[in-house]
Amino acid sequence: MSTIDTLTTPDEELDDRAQVDIGDYQFGFHDPTDKYAFTSRRGLDREMVAQISEMKGEPGWMRDFRLKSLEIFEQKPMPNWGGDMSGIDFQNIFYYVKASDRQGKTWDEVPEDIRRTYDRLGIPEAEKKYLSGVKAQYESEVIYGSLQEDLAKQGVLFTDTDSALKEHPEIFREHFGTIIPPSDNKFAALNSAVWSGGSFIYVPPGVNIDFPLQAYFRINTENMGQFERTLIIVDEGANVHYVEGCTAPTYSSDSLHSAVVEIVVKRKGRCRYTTIQNWSNNVYNLVTKRAMAYGDSLMEWVDGNLGSKLTMKYPAIYLMEPGARGETLSIAFAGDGQHQDAGAKMVHCAPNTSSRVISKSISKDGGRAGYRGLVKVENGATNCKSNVVCDALILDSKSRSDTYPYIEIDEDDVAIEHEASVSKIAEEQLLYLMSRGMTETEASSMIVTGFIEPLVKELPMEYAVELNRLIELQMEGSVG
């Protein structure tokens, strides 16, 4: 691997601790936890992993898989790259917390505290307006699930991953852990050991789901570890758009979110996976996401990272057969005490495959946002095309941006393009907008919104509006 270029602003030491400022973060409230069905003790060991498996009533193979994964986790060293993970205390985390005994099919069946939280997040309302189905995960378990009836009739499966293991064991076992094996990295191993919840989706051949399926992840407990596991299988010629959102309360000590997302897109299938990650600034967000795209299929990641203390996430697409296309649109916004180490991986395993990455990162108030990406072309994957564009916008001299584009090519007949730019908000731009009656905040916010516009305009309107609104919230009170 080689670093092509590294672009940084004058480097300042980052604060270790996130500044807890509930005023800037809208979703920092939390619910009482005294009525919970089950809360594990803190810490991680074989007994804890076995207990999770037993409580879930899992088959023996899954129990063994978990225990094996725990061993791998314990053997693997912490990554020595990316962000500062020294604040994670694995023995201080709650690995399994069950807020409710059962999953609701209507919101009325969801415990009142939790239902109110989702009301505040606007999920039931969005569900009525523009979603085909919803899964709401609260702590470790999915507490609400819905899917439009006509989709169910066409054979679409949309359940939580625990139920999928019980109800659809064959298709589950065929794919689970095959795209991201536990040995992939330390956090994939951790997730494999203690996973709970997440979405399972199967879209049968030729079925086209018009409106998105949405999952909403909420952490409520302090020092919680959320380890959802998502598996999406898009069969031949089928089409799905899956959206995930995430928030958490603002606490003075940290929580950990470490998900694994595995996706298979079969021939001529199409999958778009949109994330609007808005964790509070005390959450470590260390996620492994990977898709396998087969002949003439299209896989798209739309990855918006606004929250968290540290995010390390590089959604990957393996282009397995000719004609497969991969696209990643990545937005990272780092404010005070935040480090977004986001990016993309594109692996061209077959001829005539193409990939595109557009990354926009914004840093302000001492935040650090960057792009870390890999484009890899394997020997024999002729006539591949890849285009990577990373733009960074730095709002003040305290903040930092990094670009680490790795390129590995074992084939001559390829077309690879990489462009990177770093810009600062020009004084002249601020003056121009302010001279038209905008406040400094409004002017900065408008410039930032414009900066990400080429990416946002590719989103469905509801999500574009949501993303712009979150960015405006991030910008409030910060003067560029």
Binding site: Y432, L433, S435, G437, M438, G450
Partner: protein, 272 residues
């Protein structure tokens, strides 16, 4: 209209860094008046324009700028805009990704409702669209303009028309046009000149900074001022503008040897 508002500039001294540029400018503009400001390059015309709207690079070291008695010196550009100050920039900047219509809707919401805070309601979409469409029609600006990104990929002429469109939408009490006619072909100059002609009237005081005659043919100044070495050295009527266009500034320098000498010095200092 009751009493016309007055923009009053008194003994204004302005520096950029340690370099004094304006050295005691006095000027009074009432709503409804058109003033032309002329003078050789480097005499301080653009400095005056930027200072009036509060460019942070230009530091007022002495003197005052008031609108109806309210001191502007401590106000930021946003607050001045909301009081009715407007500058048509000589070099309008590009704001990538921001649509002209969105930009204008924010601007107009702030100017019409000076108490507005960020995040508060914008002018209703329907009213805004109608007004924008009507204004663009009046100025013969293609409707497609509204959907483009602000000044992004605009030609010189398009940028200047964009400034005139903003002027039309924001209806300031005092408009300063900084060489709005420079660098344009004659068709574009005509469009901009006609545009300003349509917009000016009893509600607007206009300060036109120009080297050319065309803009002033359409917008005959009530007063013409000549700036030299950071001071207004002569004031006359439209005839003075004619004379300067015809004969240049040699006569002005002869009549004001002290300023001419200062101009010479400044050029020696700034030219390595």
């Amino acid at each position: 209209m009751s009493q016309p508002a007055v923009l009053k500039i008194e003994n204004l001294h302005v520096s950029v860094g340690d370099t004094p540029i304006l050295k005691g400018v006095n000027l009074e503009i009432r709503q409804g008046e058109i003033h032309a400001l002329m003078g050789p390059n480097g005499s301080g015309k653009s400095t005056l324009a930027y200072t009036l709207i509060g460019h942070p690079k230009y530091e007022v070291t002495e003197g005052s700028i008031t609108v109806d008695g309210v001191e502007l010196n401590e106000l930021d550009p946003c607050e001045r805009a909301r009081m009715g100050m407007f500058l048509a920039f000589q070099y309008p900047v590009t704001i990538p990704g921001v649509k002209v219509a969105d930009f204008l809707r924010h601007a107009i919401s702030n100017i019409r409702n000076p108490e507005r805070k960020e995040g508060e309601e914008l002018m209703p979409m329907r009213d805004f669209r109608k007004e924008l469409r009507d204004t663009m029609n009046e100025l013969n600006i293609d409707a497609e303009f509204a959907r483009r990104y602000l000044n992004d990929g605009f030609s010189g002429g398009e940028k200047k028309r964009m400034e005139i469109l903003q002027l039309a939408m924001l209806k300031p009490r005092f408009a300063i046009l900084d060489e709005t006619d420079s660098g344009l072909d004659s068709d574009a100059v005509r469009v901009v000149s006609e545009g300003l002609q349509k917009l000016s009237g009893p509600h607007m005081g206009v300060l036109i900074i120009t080297h050319h005659e065309r803009l002033l043919e359409y917008n005959i100044p009530h007063y013409t001022h000549v700036m030299l070495a950071g001071r207004i050295v002569e004031t006359g009527d439209a005839a003075l503008a004619h004379e300067l266009h015809a004969n240049g500034y040699a006569g002005v320098r002869e009549r004001h040897p002290q300023e001419a000498a200062e101009e010479q010095e400044t050029q020696e200092v700034t030219t390595p």
